[in-house]
């Protein structure tokens, strides 16, 4: 009898443990989806004390920065709690500062935000899954411009920002709102214009007898590249060409006044690409340029060859200025010595062509999963689009903000104590005001997204590394995008 009872108990225990195992398993998966949230919360809880300390110091000593780490929480516990994701830590640091200002100015509408910085691809993938499944999205999130069309497909799961942006819109560059809009509804608050300019290492160029101010066309540029090659015995090249980025191609498009898309959103490879790529392939063959390590210059490898004085110039949007300066432990750490680098309009194919194009950009969105989307929308519009916010973006991040009245405000543009104005040999605002009317815009839709992806994965590598014929490579790219449209 005893034995029977024992065996029954054992059987029952086994059965329940099986179920428990199973239940535990499913519990784990449920946890997994929210694991990041949980992790964020935990880390935030840990950081809270530190953040409070920092805030305390802030009251005592002016100028102490509240630095957002990978995860940090800013704002009082009594405020409406929100989550915010970005793929650039600097952005989150800036939003954290604007949040403190908001809370000072709006004592009755306090907000507390937990900021999390994720790697670029991870953040966009996480967000798209969260919006598709309707669960797990943050209240506020940065979306990079190239990725934005992905989030506008179907019924956008984002909150319309029209009302919140309305008070600020009159002063801002209209075209920067349109890139984050669908059917007249604005879903993203823009950060900057992203005017593309040429960065020249003037000190290095002078040592080879090149004066960058005389470079007006790409022919001049190529001639200068030959001079650099000869004078440096091939140690230094004029520039590096990209295999993982389309900046050069956008410059070529804007100079020719071209766009990818026709009225139906169909994408055609622009004719100017062949010119630009043929020219670049020639540079590679003649040893006048190298291929950018890691595909483009906004990478570890890219910054390394700039620091190593291996290349003397490159085109990038004005936001690249911020990559030259960074803070570690409150100390300014520059990528190169101050006063060496100059900024100038891009060379053109034929004189008289427009000399810039808006590249990159971040649209900050409010998701429809937000607890208080109206408040989130008002905060982010204030943080990014108010005059104060725009000045903040310039001072913190060094971006060419969308509010053009900032560009004309001499208190700001002539402020030599500003880290960016003092670092560069030329005043960025002088260049910006010079090319103000020439900054082209390129349409990005989901077909463009596919073409750019194809170009970055296949064509540019094939052309620059394997010497594939440019026309042939571009035809293959066209075929690939035609499959989708």
């Amino acid at each position: 009898m005893k034995r029977k009872v024992l065996s029954a108990v054992l059987c029952a225990a086994m059965a329940t443990s099986l179920f428990a195992g199973c239940g535990g398993g499913s519990g784990d998966t449920a946890k997994d989806t929210s694991a990041d949230n949980a992790a964020t919360d935990d880390a935030a809880a840990g950081d809270d004390a530190a953040a409070d300390d920092a805030a305390g110091e802030d009251l005592g000593e002016e100028g102490t920065e509240v630095q957002a780490d990978a995860v940090s929480t800013v704002g009082p516990d009594s405020g409406t709690h929100m989550e915010m994701w970005s793929f650039v830590e600097l952005h989150n640091n800036f939003y954290a500062k604007m949040l403190e200002k908001w809370n000072e100015e709006n004592p009755d509408r306090q907000i507390q935000i937990t900021f999390t910085t994720y790697p670029f691809a991870d953040m966009h993938n996480k967000l798209i899954m969260a919006l598709q499944t309707g669960d797990g999205a943050p209240d506020l999130c940065d979306i990079e411009r190239g990725q934005f069309p992905n989030f506008l497909q179907g019924e956008p799961q984002l909150y319309a920002l029209n009302d919140a942006l309305a008070p600020y819109q009159a002063d801002l560059v209209e075209s920067r709102f349109d890139i984050y809009a669908k059917d007249g509804t604005y879903y993203g608050a823009p950060t900057h214009v992203g005017a593309t300019v040429m960065y020249y290492n003037d000190e290095l160029l002078q040592s080879f007898g090149v004066d960058y101010t005389t470079i007006k066309t790409w022919d001049d540029y190529t001639a200068a590249a030959e001079k650099v090659k000869e004078a440096s015995n091939g140690e230094v090249t004029m520039t590096s060409v990209d295999t993982g980025g389309t900046d050069w191609l956008w410059v070529a498009m804007a100079e020719h006044g071209e766009d990818y898309t026709d009225a139906d959103g169909k994408v055609t490879v622009p004719a100017s690409w062949e010119k630009m790529l043929t020219m670049q392939q020639g540079w590679i063959n003649d040893g006048l340029a190298v291929v950018s390590p890691d595909g483009q210059l906004d990478t570890e490898g890219g910054r390394q060859i700039i620091m190593d004085q291996k290349i003397a110039s490159f085109p990038k949007a004005l936001w690249y200025m911020s990559r030259f300066l960074s803070y570690s432990n409150g100390e300014l750490d520059t990528m190169d010595a101050p006063g060496k680098w100059a900024i100038a309009p891009c060379p053109v194919f034929e004189e008289g062509q427009p000399r810039s194009v808006g590249i990159g950009g971040t649209g900050t969105v409010v998701t429809n999963q937000s607890a208080d989307p109206a408040l989130a929308a008002e905060f982010i519009s204030y943080a990014k689009c108010s005059y104060e916010g725009c000045v903040g973006i310039w001072e913190e991040l060094g971006f060419d903000v969308c509010n053009t009245s900032v560009w004309a405000d001499e208190k700001i543009t002539k402020d030599t104590s500003n880290q960016y104005i003092s670092f560069f040999k030329t005043n960025p605002f002088d260049v910006l005001n010079e090319i103000k009317e020439e900054i082209g815009a390129v349409t990005v839709n989901s077909n463009v997204f596919i073409l750019q992806d194809y170009i970055n994965v296949n064509s540019l590598n094939a052309i620059m590394e394997d010497g594939q014929d440019v026309a042939e490579a571009l035809q293959e790219a066209q075929d690939a995008v035609d499959l989708e449209q």
């Binding site: 598709q132 179907g154 690939a480 499959l483």
Partner: protein, 298 residues
């Protein structure tokens, strides 16, 4: 009284024991499988899901990137079969024999890599194979008087890196399968073979290999699927899902790219089903040829 009957019921007990498996099988395998089939005939966007018939499939067969993905996955699978079945079998036989001293040590050494996470080992391999002259592989090349090369930008060398990672990780695991298979072989067979005058090779050829067949078929079957479904290794080696000219793109990588990165879950479902069909066909053919489905011959 009733509960007591239930608890002691020998009829119910087996069902209770297999229930957790049945439930998880239904929820995590059958349901997703059916919904994947449905999704492969749809476009799926937030708030707008439509049936589009066979459009995903017809697009798939015109898609060059998908063909590259199949080719890469297939090449990888074939090479893993060539490298990861004979060699682990040989190591297992060696360790099992008395030719090798400290066999426990060698077992541990070969098995250890499989305990590391793919993420970490992938990052280490990426650093080893970078194109900079400072990477280990390039230092090795320079030591042998060769020029440094861009390992991960060229199809052949990239496949070499992937296979090296696979061998490093999986040799030990497959070896353990074979070792356990070897333990199941009756030693008296070897003794009688010795009496009949068989040498070492003949014992291996006529006793070990035939009697290891069930293990070999098992390893072959899982290796076919594992090879075709490889994703994380490639994802880590190129620090993301994009490799130059798609040299590291695998079928699952392409599924991820379409479904997650481009938000085309319908198209990605079609990719997934094609992977399932390929893996099933290869394995069923292989199992038929190996006679697994034949009735036991007595």
């Amino acid at each position: 009284m009733k509960t007591k009957n239930f608890l002691y019921s020998q009829k119910v007990a087996p069902y209770v024991f297999v229930l957790p498996f049945i439930i998880s099988f239904l929820v995590f395998w059958i349901y997703p499988l059916i919904s994947t089939v449905t999704m492969s005939f749809q476009t799926i966007l937030p708030g707008q899901t439509e049936f589009i018939g066979l459009e995903n499939y017809s697009k798939l067969f015109r898609d060059k990137a998908f063909r590259i993905a199949i080719k890469n996955s297939f090449t990888y699978m074939v090479w893993t079969l060539i490298l990861l079945i004979p060699f682990p079998m040989l190591f297992a036989v060696l360790i099992d024999s008395n030719l090798v001293k400290a066999s426990g040590f060698w077992k541990a050494v070969l098995y250890l890599p499989s305990l590391t996470s793919v993420v970490i080992s992938g990052i280490l391999f990426r650093l080893m194979f970078t194109e900079y002259p400072t990477s280990q592989m390039n230092k090795l090349l320079v030591f042998f008087g060769q020029e440094p090369m861009a390992w991960l930008k060229n199809g052949t060398t990239a496949m070499f890196a992937l296979l090296l990672l696979a061998c490093w990780r999986w040799t030990g695991v497959n070896m353990l399968y074979f070792l356990s298979g070897l333990k199941g072989i009756d030693t008296s067979l070897y003794e009688s073979a010795e009496i009949d005058g068989a040498n070492g090779w003949e014992k291996f050829r006529y006793i070990t290999i035939p009697l290891l067949k069930p293990t070999t078929i098992y390893v072959l079957t899982i290796s076919v699927y594992a090879g075709l479904a490889m994703f994380l290794e490639s994802y880590m080696l190129w620090a993301g899902n994009t490799s130059p000219k798609n040299i590291g793109l695998t079928i699952v990588g392409y599924l991820y790219k379409r479904g997650i990165e481009k938000n085309q879950l319908g198209y990605a479902s079609a990719v997934g089903l094609v992977l399932l069909v390929i893996a099933l066909v290869i394995n069923i053919v292989q199992l038929i040829l190996n006679g697994t489905f034949k009735k036991e011959e007595r």
